[in-house]
């Protein structure tokens, strides 16, 4: 087991190097650089000498291959560099933004799973009844609705309701505070975005659960379970669900990994300072070091999530566990 995990993590090294090469090249393909943006941001006259000095200082004048090897080597020594824009260590920049993104991702996943698996199962078991149609309609709406629109609408709704109820419009707080420090403040800030994101996420998961369940319920072993005279509930929970969850687990894993770095628009709508927003800022500022760090972070999250999914798979399916 441990050997398998270590093996998988070692196999991730080529993936990481590949991702590093890709982001490195892409960042350098964008015209201009951080020095031009930083010194010219006020619309003022840019002094070529100071731009040159800035480039020299940030190492942008070194040959590309040297820059790339520097980048790789620093990661092997766990030195992730300092932001080219703010001069802060990137670990600080990311540490300030990660908690809110992580919390929303976890909460959205919990919401999605809690809604999607029961509803998807019921929908499959009541195939083509009105209940199934309603569930599927809600799911289609969830996939079709852009989350920024849903986010804006839910904010407007909150404003309106609180205004009508108390005469004073209430807005979620902007400053992130950890749950342990002030749970009410924390939840009033992240609950709305988590629901918004979780809804879309649950819609996708629900459809997957439904189709997997429909397939499994037609399997021979379900007929065998029926021929044993088992209660329908046992047939569904013990015989069907465990088999049907296999593809659903994969989907949940991929979605979760995506949520951590991918909530660019939602973070913008809810005015959250998360990883997604930091990503956009880093690219806009042509902050190579920070962008690279963020990409590597997302890749690591994907690798780890995939590993967790594979371990869950083995736990669910003995055919994988014993081969």
């Amino acid at each position: 087991m441990y050997r398998y995990i270590v093996k998988r993590l070692l196999l991730a090294v080529p993936t990481l190097v590949g991702a590093a090469a890709l982001v490195f090249v892409l960042m350098r393909l964008i015209p201009g650089d951080v020095c031009v943006i930083r010194l010219g941001s006020g619309g003022a006259h840019v002094d070529p000498a100071s731009v040159e000095a800035c480039r020299q200082e940030l190492g942008l004048n070194n040959p590309l291959i040297v820059q790339f090897l520097d980048f790789l080597w620093s990661y092997f020594t766990f030195d992730f560099g300092t932001s080219m824009w703010s001069g802060q260590p990137v670990t600080h920049e990311i540490a300030a933004r990660l908690p809110v993104s992580l919390q929303i991702a976890v909460m959205a996943t919990v919401i999605a799973v809690a809604i999607a698996i029961p509803l998807g199962t019921i929908s499959a078991l009541r195939e083509n009844t009105w209940l199934d149609h309603v569930v599927r309609m809600v799911a289609i709406a969830g996939i079709a609705t852009p989350s920024f629109w849903l986010g804006i609408m839910s904010l407007v709704l909150v404003l309106d309701i609180t205004y009508l109820a108390t005469g004073k419009a209430w807005m979620p707080p902007i400053q992130y505070v950890s749950f342990w420090q002030d749970p009410i403040h924390n939840l009033s800030m992240v609950l709305l975005p988590a629901i918004t994101v979780g809804y879309r996420y649950s819609a996708v998961t629900m459809r997957m659960t439904r189709s997997a369940m429909l397939e499994v319920m037609r399997e021979d072993y379900i007929r065998t379970a029926r021929s044993k005279g088992l209660l329908e509930q046992i047939i569904i929970n013990r015989h069907a669900l465990k088999n049907a969850l296999l593809p659903v687990v994969t989907l949940i894993g991929i979605e979760f990994a995506f949520l951590i770095g991918g909530l660019v628009v939602t973070e913008q709508v809810f005015n959250l300072n998360g990883i997604g927003r930091l990503f956009v800022q880093a690219v806009q500022n042509q902050d190579n070091v920070l962008t690279q760090a963020l990409v590597m972070l997302v890749v690591v999250i994907f690798v780890v999530t995939n590993l967790v999914v594979d371990l869950l798979y083995a736990w669910l399916d003995p055919r994988i566990r014993f081969s």
């Binding site: 021979d220 065998t224 021929s227 044993k228 005279g229 209660l231 465990k242």
Partner: protein, 333 residues
């Protein structure tokens, strides 16, 4: 003593895109206590549907039992509630399916798949159920049963899996076992082992058995009585001996000729039954075997021959020419 199972004029239909399929079109037969009855026919003849109908395991939609009675132990199973039916399934009637690979749940241990039946029907606790499971595996001849109980289906060979299926079917001491093509998916050498096992166990435990098969060779050895099905109906019924030595329906005769035999000189090739099974959505009023029958006459197109008694008692055939057939066969041979 009344028979253990009496099926009377059973009709099962499927509503499909191509039209209404009368998969089982009025079959009647009985199974006595402790007796082994075979139901023989090609794929699509309705033999499996007929058996699944007994346990009301036909998925609805698209299938539905539309007529007839299924008297089991004096009760009409068609009149029972779903909860009462669950009591019968697995407790009074056990089932063995064709594909032991796909019929066992891949993610549950062998032990679990046996004990859950015991827990359901006998209220057994985990420990008692596991002891009984061990006993059952020993009974069906699985070596090292302790280890096997903890394993999963994919770790067992095909023959062992089918033994497990038999153990599951026997777990609650049923009165009847329905075996739907129990050996079709197995190697020939294993087939004989499984059939011998089922024969000796059912005899020892006094369990009645319905074996569904397309292989008449199986029938002769293991069943006392045989029902031959074609296009949803029984076309010939009788003792295994009568069917084997004195078939009175052209379809049975064709089936017998299609069984490969080792005790006869090798011929150039086998004699399969000519033609294709009929399309059940477009049957006419005549004999459904007519298009493939060498003996068909004008009368066969006009009316469906009824299942009527022939020479020996208990031997029935649905053929207008059943009386002539034995002579014709002698001439042909």
């Amino acid at each position: 003593m009344p028979p253990l199972l009496e099926v009377r004029a059973l009709h099962t239909e499927f509503r499909t895109g191509a039209g209404l399929v009368r998969a089982v079109d009025g079959i009647s037969y009985t199974v006595e206590h402790g007796e082994t009855v075979a139901i023989v026919g090609e794929s699509g003849s309705g033999k499996s549907v007929g058996a699944l109908s007994i346990l009301r395991l036909i998925p609805d939609p698209p299938g539905r039992i539309t007529g007839g009675e299924i008297l089991f132990d004096g009760k009409d199973l068609r009149g029972l509630s779903e909860a009462e039916m669950r009591e019968i399934r697995g407790r009074d009637i056990g089932m063995v399916f064709q594909e032991p690979m796909t019929s066992l749940n891949p993610v549950l241990t062998i032990a679990r798949q046996i004990t859950e039946t015991l827990e359901q029907h006998q209220g057994a606790d985990r420990e008692t159920a596991e002891r009984r499971a061990l006993e059952l595996l020993e009974m069906v001849g699985i070596a090292d049963p302790k280890r096997r109980l903890k394993q999963y289906p994919h770790q067992l060979s095909g023959g062992m899996r089918q033994r497990v299926m038999i153990a599951v079917a026997l777990a609650c001491n049923p009165k009847l076992i329905i075996a739907d093509e129990p050996t079709t998916a197995l190697d020939v050498t294993i087939q004989a082992q499984i059939l011998e096992l089922m024969k000796s166990l059912t005899r020892k435990l006094g369990v009645a058995q319905i074996i569904i098969t397309h292989n008449l060779g199986v029938v002769a050895r293991y069943a006392s009585r045989v029902n031959v099905m074609y296009a949803g109906r029984i076309v010939e019924a009788g003792s295994a001996e009568a069917i084997y030595h004195n078939p009175r329906h052209p379809y049975t005769m064709a089936l017998l000729k299609s069984v490969p035999r080792l005790d006869q000189p090798r011929r150039a090739r086998l004699d399969p039954v000519d033609g294709q099974p009929p399309d059940l959505t477009r049957l006419d009023g005549g004999c459904s075997f007519r298009p493939r029958c060498r003996f068909a006459v004008e009368q066969c197109a006009k009316a469906r021959p009824p299942l009527a008694a022939v020479a020996e008692p208990g031997h029935l055939s649905a053929c207008f020419r059943s009386a002539e057939l034995s002579d014709i066969r002698d001439v042909a041979a």
